[in-house]
């Protein structure tokens, strides 16, 4: 099927637009997740979104909104709970990780949520998006880009070292909290738009591949976006031509780019 023919179908066009946006901008959040060691938190937020989705399906509410709300609660509770209990944030994150998935499973079981709907929370459906979803995704992507551009110098200091950022006069606590919020929103949006499987391939793999080649923080962000764009566009084309799910095609393309990047980096270093 040609691109022109494919785009004559609104679901495919909407899916393509969101995929390209997510490919370009979600890896920016991925840079923070990787470099600030937030991978465990990202799992917790994913579970939080699943809990929101399960609760929303049981109550007949919007899964995206409930998922966002639960993630914001998690983001704002982790730090005070860590301080109050004297436990590390890693332990508190692990606590929420298991609690949320346990609650999600209990709700799905007790409310009799159909298995198909549950799986849709996990895998998303890029071709089942409304125009409102596309607009929301565009607004969110522009907002995350603006956040990185406006606070680039401060973010760079935070990524380098939090104590040095503090001593340079930066309000690093507020900035770190903003990054947690951005991560929570990205994860929640991702599950709704493209699913859990695709989230990893667009959030983490492009950022890792970018760090193979980046020579500065600026180039790290630019390359992460470029690898994300290649993954999403390439994956979309593969899905279209081989008739496989877009999420798995994008993941496979991202993984191939990651492997090629790794091999190329080794050849350059050898």
């Amino acid at each position: 099927m040609s691109l022109a023919t494919a785009f004559s179908y609104p679901p495919i066009l909407k899916g393509f637009l969101v995929l390209i946006l997510a490919g370009c901008f979600f890896p920016l959040t991925g840079v923070f997740v990787l470099k600030l060691q937030l991978v465990p938190l990202r799992f917790t937020l994913m579970h939080g979104t699943l809990l929101g989705g399960a609760a929303a399906l049981a109550l007949g509410l919007d899964p995206l909104l409930i998922g966002l709300a639960i993630n914001m609660v998690i983001v704002f509770v982790i730090a005070p709970m860590s301080r109050f209990s004297g436990l590390s944030t890693g332990y508190v994150t692990a606590f929420f990780m298991v609690l949320t998935i346990g609650l999600a499973y209990a709700i799905i079981y007790k409310a009799g949520v159909p298995a198909k709907d549950t799986l849709e929370i996990l895998w998303g459906n890029i071709f089942a998006l409304s125009y409102l979803d596309v607009i929301l995704a565009a607004v969110f992507c522009v907002a995350s880009l603006l956040f990185v551009l406006l606070f680039f110098q401060q973010l760079k200091a935070l990524l380098f070292n939090r104590e040095i950022a503090f001593s340079a006069g930066i309000n690093e606590k507020a900035l770190f909290r903003a990054i947690l919020v951005l991560t929570g929103l990205t994860v929640a949006f991702s599950l709704k738009l493209i699913g859990a499987l695709l989230l990893d391939s667009l959030l983490l793999l492009p950022a890792i591949a970018a760090s193979f080649f980046a020579r500065s923080v600026r180039s790290l962000f630019v390359l992460a976006g470029a690898f994300g764009l290649l993954s999403s566009f390439g994956g979309f084309m593969v899905a279209l031509n081989l008739d496989i799910p877009a999420s798995s095609a994008v993941t496979i393309v991202a993984a191939v780019l990651f492997a090629v990047g790794l091999a190329f980096r080794r050849r350059v270093q050898a």
């Binding site: 470099k35 040095i164 001593s167």
Partner: protein, 237 residues
């Protein structure tokens, strides 16, 4: 009574980390333009002292004043960048950040004008002799090069006081001498006050620095014999 030239002052300060009391009823002052070394074995509280002054570690009681402002106050929060901090043993980062970008961190709140910021950073890198390192990855620099870049970061921050934690640990003798000369030059030419924590025996007998020996949470008499005892193999780890 506080001398108006006092840039750092601690009065009866108590700092606890976990269940351990690191500093107890601790008094200390640094005057403007001084070069001060705090010496002592690993674990005696040198880093805690520096971090207390920087506001990174809270003090349980007493007063910590920096440039006339109580540490933790609103005014101090706005002025804290007048203290430049050079971290222990460089900073290990898994981040592709260039030496120029590290130096630029200090300037990030001074101006939003990229041209002014560039001029500020380039001047700071010239003063510390690391202009030629700008495009290189920070993680690929030697220990001495990293320290120069860190000092450039502090200068582009317009720091009036430099706080250095074990800056010579990973340096060879030539780089160590070069760093000490650079610090002396910054102190004499730029008027920057310098406070350094170290257990490097070679630095303890420098006559052009005021040396304090920290032990058991308080300063001990710092006579030459005591300092030389610190230099014995095995006395410092």
């Amino acid at each position: 009574m506080t001398n108006r030239n006092t840039v750092i002052e601690l009065k009866r300060v108590r700092v606890q980390r976990g269940s351990r009391s690191v500093l107890e009823s601790f008094d200390f002052a640094v005057q403007s333009g001084e070069r001060v070394i705090v010496a002592g074995k690993n674990g005696v509280g040198k880093t805690t002292l520096l971090k207390t002054i920087l506001g990174l570690v809270p003090h349980q009681s007493g007063e910590v004043t920096v440039l006339g402002l109580p540490v933790g106050s609103r005014k101090w929060l706005r002025q804290r960048r007048r203290l430049g901090y050079v971290h222990q043993d460089g900073v290990q980062v898994d981040l592709p950040i260039s030496a120029y970008e590290v130096s630029e961190i200090g300037a990030c709140l001074h101006t939003t004008n990229p041209r002014k910021r560039r001029a500020l950073v380039e001047e700071a890198m010239r003063l510390t002799g690391c202009s030629h390192l700008g495009g290189r990855l920070y993680s690929h620099l030697s220990g001495g090069e990293r320290q120069k870049v860190s000092l450039a970061r502090c200068l582009s921050q317009h720091a009036q006081v430099l706080i250095l934690d074990e800056p010579t640990t990973s340096l060879d003798p030539a780089s160590r001498r070069e760093l000490m000369e650079l610090l002396k030059r910054l102190n004499e030419e730029q008027g920057i006050t310098i406070l350094m924590a170290t257990h490097d025996p070679e630095l303890l007998t420098r006559e052009d620095w005021r040396v304090h020996r920290l032990e058991d949470g308080e300063f001990q008499p710092g006579g030459e014999e005591v300092l030389l005892s610190l230099m014995q193999p095995g006395s410092v780890s």
